[in-house]
Amino acid sequence: MFWKRQIPLAIAFLAGLIFAIQYFVPHRVSQTIFDWYTDWGIVIGAFGAILGFYSISRLHITKITKRREGWLYSVATLVCILAMVIGAIVGGTEKGTFFAQMYSYVFVSISATMFSLLGFYIASAAYRAFRARTALATGLLLAAILVMLGRVPLGQTISFWTKWNPNLPSLVDIANWIMDVPNMAAKRAIALGVALGMMLVSLKIILGIERTYLGGGD
């Protein structure tokens, strides 16, 4: 318990305190601690990658040996991991190698396709769910339509009224106003709330009040 609770809590408290002070004290000693910490952190990061490889391998090997549901997917995952690692070690990662070909023609294509599919789902979902049920929903709907038109080149082209009177705002101007004023006001309020929340959680972690990061409940 001492090693799993008190020691990590003491490290979190000391590290939090030292770097909170370090940020505001521009002394040579303070700078040396900061330099030492950044170098040290990179080494920990590199070891983290090794730990990640071990962790994911162990997880999937256990799943395969115990024939849990979907164990074949674990086989595929392990084969892919090993193929990429061995491919990179043996053949390198330069253009034309097995690793580079797999990256460019399999990984990039699959990832981009998965993300692109969202566009189709959004279109269908918008048709079925975007309804002017209330005054607020109607406002949201109008703002969405104006922004969608104003943020693409077509918005400028179809703003025919600006030809009659150049002082009238085009769809682009309206979309920019929505982004710059109501959108920014709402986002700033959210950002401030999130920032205050983060500060509070950080303080709770430093003081040992928030302990869920240690695992095991509490």
């Binding site: 330099d35 993300f115 279109a123 048709y127 943020r151 080149p153 077509l154 082209t157 710059d180 920014m184």
Partner: protein, 277 residues
């Protein structure tokens, strides 16, 4: 009434086909719509336009292949502009799956301009732990990246000879589909006073207008439109400009469907549609 009800229960595959057609057809029949320039894009252009051969910028490709269609054209456009101005370009990535994309982008544009790796630009590759890495770069880039991606010691790379930390960098541009861009702001801008600009996906852009208004970032490229605006500014149309017609029509199709859905919603007495997306 029946027609409206039929329209309301339209098969989702018809919507998919229409969206697909709206995206594909404009690539073969381009309309060449004029692309209006926004101030957040123009400010990045103006900043780089004022740089010269004694200046250096960092381009951090902090995205993975999922967001390549939106962010890759931005990176290429910015590198083209930097090479036009003979600015030193340092390319890196904070995302391990972005290494290949970063290398591909800088090599493609460097070949186009006849720029030499090590002399005109360098590719530092990837290092883990982005928060600490950014903080460390503020102190000494050479300790964070002892070698470039190809294993050449950083001290032997001519373009890096006079570059040691953020004091020697005029602008950092981060391109990302995640909140990594904010790490650049909190670590590099607020701690070291480094000027920052970024390119983000279209859905993320609204979140970051607050940093534009507060003057914490130089500018922002938002989605494919941002990339197309930059291509227009440097007068080198590429894939983003080509995609603008497709994006325009896709938006129109979505708006038409939303309007149809709402008309039907009111005509049929506000009946809900099946949640079949």
């Amino acid at each position: 009434m029946k027609f409206i009800e039929k329209l309301m229960s339209i098969d989702r595959r018809i919507i998919y086909i229409l969206i697909a057609l709206a995206i594909i057809i404009p690539f073969f029949v381009p309309m060449g719509l004029p692309i209006p320039i926004t101030k957040e894009v123009e400010s990045i252009y103006n900043y780089i336009e004022d740089l010269g051969p004694n200046d250096a910028i960092i381009i951090s490709n902090d995205y993975d292949p999922q967001t390549k269609p939106e962010l890759y054209p931005m990176v290429k456009a910015i590198i083209r502009h930097a090479f036009d101005r003979e600015v030193k370009v340092i390319v890196m990535t904070l995302i391990v799956t972005g290494v290949g994309l970063a290398e591909e982008a800088v090599k493609e544009v460097a070949d186009e301009y006849g720029m030499v790796n090590g002399k005109d630009y360098c590719f530092l590759g990837y290092r883990p732990g982005w928060g600490l890495l950014i903080l460390g770069m503020g102190v000494d880039i050479h300790t964070q990246f002892p070698t470039d991606y190809y294993g050449t010691p950083i001290k032997d790379i001519p373009v890096m000879a006079d570059i040691h930390n953020f004091d020697d960098i005029d602008l950092v541009l981060s391109f990302s589909g995640s909140s990594i861009v904010v790490s650049w702001l909190t670590m590099a801008k607020e701690r070291f006073g480094q000027n920052i600009a970024w390119g983000v996906t279209g859905v993320m852009a609204p979140d970051y207008y607050i940093y534009l208004q507060s003057g914490q970032i130089v500018g922002m490229l938002g989605g494919l439109k941002g990339a197309a605006e930059y291509e227009t500014l440097i007068n080198k149309p590429d894939t983003a400009t080509a995609g603008m017609d497709a994006q325009s029509w896709a938006h129109v199709i979505i708006i038409v469907f939303i309007l149809i859905g709402n008309i039907g919603f009111f005509i049929t007495g506000k009946k809900n549609l099946k949640p079949n997306i």
